[in-house]
Amino acid sequence: MVLPAPTEAPLVEARRLKTHFTAHRGLPFARHTTIIRAVDGVDLQIRQGETLGLVGESGCGKSTLGRSLLRLAQPTSGQVIFDGSDVTAADQDALRRLRRRMQMVFQDPYGSLDPRMTVEQAIGEPLRIHGLASGDRRRQRIRDLLGFVGLDPTVGERYPHEFSGGQRQRIGIARALAVEPDFIVLDEPVSALDVSIQAQVLNLLDRLREQLNLTYLFVAHDLSVVRHISHRVAVMYLGTFVEVATRDRLYAEPLHPYTRALLSAVPVPNPAIEKRRQRMILKGDVASPAQVPFGCRFHTRCPLAIDRCRSEVPALEEKRPGHMAACHLVEAQTEKV
C-alpha cells in the first residue's frame, strides 16, 4: 500500500467538530439533563485515496464522528468540509447531492438490510433515490455491482436472510458503491464477521479502494485490523483525538500513553511473545462521555499522570514529523534531520 501523494486540499475535513447529545436521566420528578460529549472538538483531514483508521474503545465517539461527517448525526458546532463544500451548512437539497458522494457501511449486516427487500431492491434503492439508473440499466448495474463485490450476479431476487454474514456485508458494500461515491465511512465493517470471513471483506475493501480511487474512514476497535487497512490512524478517547500519525509511525512508536496501553493490551497469536510480554494494564473502566474529566481526559486512567495533567488540557501537537499527540509528557522533536 502506497500512501497517496498529498494534494492541496483534503477531500474530507472536520474543523473543531462537536456533536453533543442530551440525555434525560433519573426518575420522574427527579430528572436531570446530562450532556453527552460524544465528539468534542475534532480536527481531521482525509486525503483523496487515503484510508484513515479511527480506533478507540466503546463510547469514545468514533461511530458518532463517522456519522457526523455525513450529517447522519447532527453536529453541535464546528464544520465538515467535503471537497470544498460545507456539509454542516448545506440545505436538504445540497445535502442530498453531497450524500451521493458520501456513503456509509454499517457494522451489523443483519440489522442494516431491510428483511422485506430483495437484494436487487436494496442495492437499487439508492439508484432510484438519486435518479441514477432505471429499468434494464438499473438491473444491469445491480448485476455488475454484485459481481464486483464477489457475489453471484444472479442472486438479485433473493432476500437477506438467505445469505451469510459475510455475504450480507458484501451486499451492504455493493449498496454503498451503487451511487459511485468518493468517500465511504466504514463503521466496524468486519467486527461482526467470523475471522476467516473478515479477511475476505478486508481484501475486497482494499481492492475496491484502489480500483475506484475511494477514500475511507475505517472505524474499528480492533487495532490489528486497523493497522492492516489504514494509511494513517487516529486514536480517539472520550470525544477527542489523542494521537494521529501514519500507520507505520503509530504502531512503531506510539507516543500517547493511551495508545501504548491499547497496543499492549492486544493479544497476539504467538505464545512465545505472549509469555514474556509486559502489559501496561490500565486501571478502571472507560470513562463516560457524560462526565469528562478536567485537564487531560485520560488522566483518571493514566499510569503516568502528573499534576499538570489534572488541570491543563494538552493540545494535539506535532511531536514528531507527521506525528501528532496530545500529551504533556511527550517532548516534541520535530526538527527534520
Binding site: V195, S196, A199, Q200, S224, Y251, P269, N270, L282, D285
Partner: protein, 325 residues
C-alpha cells in the same frame, strides 16, 4: 485425567432436519490444565460446553451419544438433581454476557451466598464473608459495600469480574469460560485475562476457555483444540498449534487474521467460501469444500483424529508439511 470426553454427539431437531452441532468429539483435560477451544460461529464449541454442563436446551437439543467422565463419573448418567450439585460447585461456567446468568432482581450477596450455602454448606454469615473475600480477590473496589449492589450497578468489565468471583467461590475443579471477554473493550479484556491467569495459579482450577480469538488463547492456555463444523480437527500443545499447525483449517485461520506480530505488508489469505450447512453436511471431511489441500479421499471419507506425535492430534488425510515443502 480430570475430564475425559469421548465420542460426544449433540443434535438439534430443526424444521429442515437434524442438525449435528457436536459431532463425535473426544478430548481429555488434565488436572490443572487450561485448554483453549477455538473455532468460528457454528463450530460447535459452545454447544460442546453446554453438553458438558448438561445444559443443552430440550426438547430441541439432545446428547445422542458419548461419555463425559468427570473425576471418574459419567455426567451423562446423572439425574438432574445430582447434576445440579455439580454445576456451580465442582464445575462452574462463565458466559459472554454476564447478565444472562446473573439474576437482575437479586443482590450480588444473595446470588453468591446461595451457591456457597448449597455447595459448601456454609452458614449465611460465613457465606457473606466468603463472598466479600471473593469480590476483593477479583478486584472489585469497596467489596464489603458493593456486595449488596444489584448487577445493573456494575459496568460490563466489573460484571464479568463478579461472574468470575461467583464461579470460583466454591473452588471448582473445572471452569468453563464461553467467550467471556468477547464483548469487552481490549483494555478491559487485558484486565480480565490478567486476573484469570493469576487466579488459575491460586485455585489450580482446570480451564476450558472458548474463544474465537487466537491471541487470547495463546496468552492463557496450555493447549488448544480447534473445532470446525462440530468436529475436533486439531488438538495440540499451545506452542505447536501456532508454530507448527497441521490442519489446513488451522493454517487458514492463522493466515487470515491481521497480526501485530507480523510485518504490516503480510498479505491476508482468506479462507474462501463459508462454513458448511450442519443439516446437510458435505461428504467426507467437513472442511473439504473450502480446503486448498483436499484430495479425492477427503471427499469420500471423514479423516480420523490421529496422533502425529505425543499430544498433537490432527484429522486430515493430507500431510500439509509435505505439500508445503
Amino acid at each position: 485425567m480430570l475430564l475425559e470426553v469421548s465420542n460426544l454427539t449433540t443434535e438439534f431437531g430443526t424444521e429442515r432436519g437434524v442438525l449435528t452441532a457436536v459431532d463425535d468429539v473426544s478430548f481429555d483435560l488434565a488436572e490443572g490444565e487450561a485448554v483453549g477451544v477455538v473455532g468460528e460461529s457454528g463450530s460447535g464449541k459452545s454447544v460442546m460446553a453446554l453438553s458438558i454442563m448438561r445444559l443443552v436446551s430440550r426438547p430441541a437439543g439432545r446428547i445422542t451419544s458419548g461419555r463425559i467422565l468427570f473425576e471418574g463419573q459419567d455426567l451423562l448418567e446423572l439425574d438432574e438433581a445430582e447434576m445440579r450439585k455439580i454445576r456451580g460447585g465442582r464445575i462452574a461456567m462463565i458466559f459472554q454476557d454476564p447478565m444472562s446468568s446473573l439474576n437482575p432482581v437479586l443482590t450480588i450477596e444473595r446470588q453468591m451466598t446461595e451457591s456457597l450455602e448449597l455447595h459448601l454448606g456454609l452458614s449465611r454469615r460465613q457465606a457473606r464473608t466468603r463472598a466479600v473475600e471473593m469480590l476483593q480477590l477479583v478486584g472489585i473496589p469497596d467489596a464489603a459495600r458493593r456486595v449488596d449492589d444489584y448487577p445493573h450497578q456494575f459496568s460490563g468489565g466489573m460484571r464479568q469480574r463478579v461472574m468470575i468471583a461467583i464461579a470460583l467461590s466454591c473452588s471448582p475443579r473445572l471452569l468453563i469460560a464461553d467467550e467471556p471477554t468477547t464483548a469487552l473493550d481490549v483494555t478491559i479484556q487485558a484486565q480480565i485475562t490478567d486476573l484469570v491467569r493469576r487466579l488459575r495459579k491460586e485455585f489450580s482450577t482446570s480451564i476450558i476457555w472458548i474463544s474465537h480469538d487466537l491471541g487470547v488463547v495463546a496468552g492463557l492456555c496450555d493447549r488448544t483444540i480447534v473445532m470446525y463444523a462440530g468436529q475436533v480437527v486439531e488438538d495440540a500443545p499451545i506452542d505447536d498449534i501456532f508454530a507448527d499447525p497441521r490442519h489446513p483449517y488451522t493454517l487458514g485461520l492463522l493466515n487470515s487474521i491481521p497480526r501485530l506480530d507480523r510485518p504490516v505488508t503480510t498479505e491476508l489469505v482468506p479462507i474462501e467460501g463459508s462454513p458448511p450447512d450442519l443439516v446437510n453436511r458435505p461428504s467426507g471431511c467437513p472442511f473439504q469444500p473450502r480446503c486448498p489441500f483436499a484430495v479425492a479421499r477427503s471427499l469420500e471419507e471423514r479423516p480420523p483424529l490421529e496422533e502425529i506425535r505425543p499430544g498433537h492430534r490432527v484429522a486430515c488425510w493430507v500431510d500439509v508439511t509435505k505439500v508445503l515443502g
